[in-house]
Amino acid sequence: MSVIENIRKSPGGILSVGAHPQIFQAILDFDYLAGKKEPSLVGVIVSNRRAMKLFWGKGEVLVPCFPSAKAVPEDVARKVQWMLNVQSGRRTYDSTVSFFEAFPNALGGHLFAENVPERHATELLKKYGKTKIIAGPSGVGFLIGGTLKLGAIGGTDATMLSASHLAEEGTVAVVSTSGGMTNELIRDVALAGKRVSFSISIGGDRFPITSLADVLMLAENDPKTKAICYFGELGGSDEYEIVDLIKAKKLTKPMIAYIAGIIDEAFDEHMQFGHAKALVAKKDESARAKREALSSAGVTAPDTFPDFLEALKKLPGDIASDTVTAMDLSDRRSSILSTREIVDVEHGHEFVKGKKLTSARPYALSRAFLEAMLGREISDATAALGEEIFESLIDHGGNVSGAVNTMITARAGKDMVSSLAAGLLTVGPRFGGAVNAAAAAWLEGIALGFPAAEFVEKKTKGGNLLAGIGHRKYRVGIPDPRVASIAKFADLLKKHPHYDFARSVEEVTTAKNGKLILNVDGAMAALMLDMLMEREGFTREDLQALVQAEFFNALFVIPRTVGFISHFMEQKKNDEGLFRLPDELLFVNKKNLKKKK
């Protein structure tokens, strides 16, 4: 089967290197108009964001973003067949090589940048020219009618896509060195009552990765393509390759060509036109010479553009009737907030059946909490760890600062939400908020690959404290019972690298001071990391994302909310009136008060 036909059968997904929302939207509009079930753009490689919101029809979708090609998770990576590289000319070479290192079996791509150095282009063509379809450098990309739109090709607003009937399969292959003229020709094909089979904008650069001859052979071998429509310019000698292909009978399909640039004859000296290649350096590269060579080989290469359009009308492949795409994509309003469905709000839970309690799922509430936050179903082991953590962190006595604030606020006559908020607002780096910091530390420690001693050295420079290490009450010899029970979860796991690392850090720190033991924050962070990795299949990047979203602090905030509410209720029950700090418990340093003389 031909290459193009193969792609029609299984087009695959596009991963963009760099962000270009206008092109992305055009790709999604094309997909939508072509009746696809989901966008062909499966991800974007860009730092500083995790998702990009685009229209899907009149609705919206989030396309995920990743910091590098390697960071693309397996479920997305599986779909990737195409690279859309919209980076600048400086970055095109490196980013293209990284993409194909991560996706060696991808079918090809499009290099959008205009200023790709010639040397980079020739190196890329040496690496990928024979095995992949790559449109560019420069130009607008690669299009298969109704199947794939890789780039700005055919237009960037929905009106243009509809007017050119891009979502339909056709019979005329459009090949052009000029990006703008690619669009022009695609429109002309539609105006001539035909549709595009596929189109490649080979770009105005001197060294297109997939060459004109390659594209013509794709057209020749594509059963759906009945004729070829070509736009070329003065400069370069690619057209002589066409002549050779025709003479060798390798290229047999009817072809029309317009070679632009006879205006060059009106100038005193040869002019550099917009495209890098569009400069006549030798006589046989003139537009007139190339037209004549093509004509003599049997290509219809008219002298004027209107004549060229007449020839286009005569090509085979008229459509029977003009099917109107009735979808209107105008008038769209972008939403300003997006989220996901956290829980299934459509269905209730069934606890009682036939006047009897049904057997609930184990650790049902902890499981529900974790699943809501993580956005996926979890195993019993993870739910049980959640249960252990939630249960042991409900309260840690009325002395801790958050509980005190809750109680003081309650006694000032405030309501539950205010009192709870006062308590919660106390949660921070010194109280309860260290779980997330501990998770970040264990992740970093493993990523750096330092021995624990070196890690401790680095992190405690300048007197900084290590999150997850140290306790006021417990010390070596007096272990924290909560840590001991959480630590047992390590027995459920085959590997527990974060927990091991935390313990080796503890070994280093306790050698300095017996109080610097692994505390409950550090232990739960480490084991939750290990559990999510082994039992739920989270990658390091997933875990990093959880740290950034402060998931690990939620492990404290959720149960402690119940603790604070309990303290609030207790205050309301006792109702001891407004709290005031007794004088003997407050030291007032009067000496420092400066008085005006």
């Binding site: 150095p117 010639e118 000029s178 022009e184 429109r187 105005g204 736009f231 003065l234 006879i262 553009f305």
Partner: protein, 384 residues
């Protein structure tokens, strides 16, 4: 985005490194030339300098001043001065390297000298697919392998696109470059750091005031703006947008044999802002208004744009047209429009209403009309 000429001085400095003993002289700058006999040449990318009399041979340092002065009168400002290199004409060879799809194409002729164009059949042609091919090329050309490998490295490290040494003289293991010309890849300027810079690029000087104004404007924007004056008393003036489409439209004029009536050529593309488009259009309109031609037409045309916002760029053109309208009416100039792309309908509507109001309307077409229609209409009017 294109191949640019480097000065011969920079080209040789890059190839020969510290052993190069040429001196670069620029008008108005101080220079020192030691004792000895010298060759002085104009170093501004001019071809066939010898035939044009832009070279002085076998001169003492004291005699060079008058050469520079004479050249200055012809408008040249950059020179290269090298010690005289006595040799026989029979020693002169031709050598060039060019970046092509398969690698570097090497052209060589044993009896090259300065008249290589007249003897293309004597030129041998080979491809250096990699550095390793230099050995075979050395055997075939008699040029030392080490030197070829060095050239291969210099060519790639400095992102050259074309290098011509003509004449080249080989004496055993020693190689001498009498004249050298290099085209470098302007897209690679970032990668070569300071090996060559803007100061080393020779550019044809904009001759016309309007060209110079556009050149200045183009240097301050990421959009692509260009203007070339073809005939200051032309009848047809262009405001074209987008590379390929612009050539198609201009071709139509050439096809009807009216190339001599073309006042200007140039493009605005790459998404210029309203203000940039205004400034660009102003230069073209100024040029058109000062043309002495009795019948004149303005063509605002382009293909179906990918990104350039039609509404926005047309607003800039309307700003410029508003200023020029009274004079245009007086001269009986009509405006012919064809354009497509994002915001096409709104842009075309604004333009048509404006032209009607100002009595400048020739015709206005969108992307469903053939790209050349506006220029056809304009030619019909001018031809009457």
């Amino acid at each position: 985005m294109a191949r640019v000429k480097l000065t011969e001085f920079r080209a040789k400095s890059l190839i020969l490194g510290d052993s190069y003993n040429g001196i670069s002289v620029r008008a108005g700058e101080k220079f020192q030339i030691p004792v000895g006999k010298f060759v002085a040449k104009v170093d501004q990318g001019v071809k066939k300098r010898f035939k044009q009399g832009l070279v002085a041979i076998d001169k003492k340092a004291s005699e060079l001043g008058s050469f520079f002065k004479a050249m200055g009168k012809k408008g040249f400002t950059q020179f290269i001065v090298e010690p005289m290199f006595p040799h026989e004409a029979s020693e002169e060879q031709y050598f060039s390297l060019e970046r092509v799809r398969q690698g570097l194409r090497l052209l060589h002729a044993k009896d090259g000298g300065v008249s290589i164009e007249e003897h293309p059949e004597q030129v041998s042609n080979m491809i250096l697919a990699s550095r390793e091919d230099c050995a075979a090329a050395s055997r075939k050309t008699g040029i030392p392998q080490k030197f070829l490998e060095h050239l291969h490295d210099v060519f790639n490290d400095n992102f050259f696109a074309f290098l011509e040494i003509n004449p080249l003289i080989v004496r055993g293991e020693n190689v001498f470059l009498l004249d050298a010309a290099v085209l470098a890849d302007s897209a690679a300027q970032f990668f070569v750091k300071d090996a060559w810079t803007d100061a080393d690029i020779v550019r044809a000087k904009a001759k016309h005031a309007n060209e110079q104004a556009v050149e200045k404007l183009a240097a301050t924007t990421p959009a692509a703006l260009s203007l070339k004056v073809l005939n200051k008393d032309g009848a047809l003036f262009f405001l074209l947008s987008g590379g390929g489409g612009s050539i198609v439209i201009a071709d139509e004029v050439a096809a009807r044999g009216m190339g001599n009536l073309l006042g200007n050529y140039g493009e605005y593309s790459g998404g210029p802002t309203r203000e940039e488009t205004y400034l660009y259009a102003k230069e073209v309109l100024g040029l058109m208004l000062s043309s002495k031609s009795k019948k004149k037409g303005l063509i605002i045309a382009g293909g179906v744009a990918n990104f350039t916002d039609i509404k926005q760029t047309f607003a800039g053109i309307i700003d410029a047209l508003t200023e020029a309208a009274p004079k245009m009416r007086k001269q009986g100039i009509k405006v012919f429009v064809r354009r497509g792309g994002p915001n096409e309908a709104a842009g075309l509507k604004a333009m048509e209403e404006f032209l009607k109001k100002e009595q400048l309307l020739g015709s206005v077409y969108g992307s469903n009309t053939v790209i050349t229609q506006a220029v056809e209409d304009a030619m019909d009017i001018v031809e009457e």
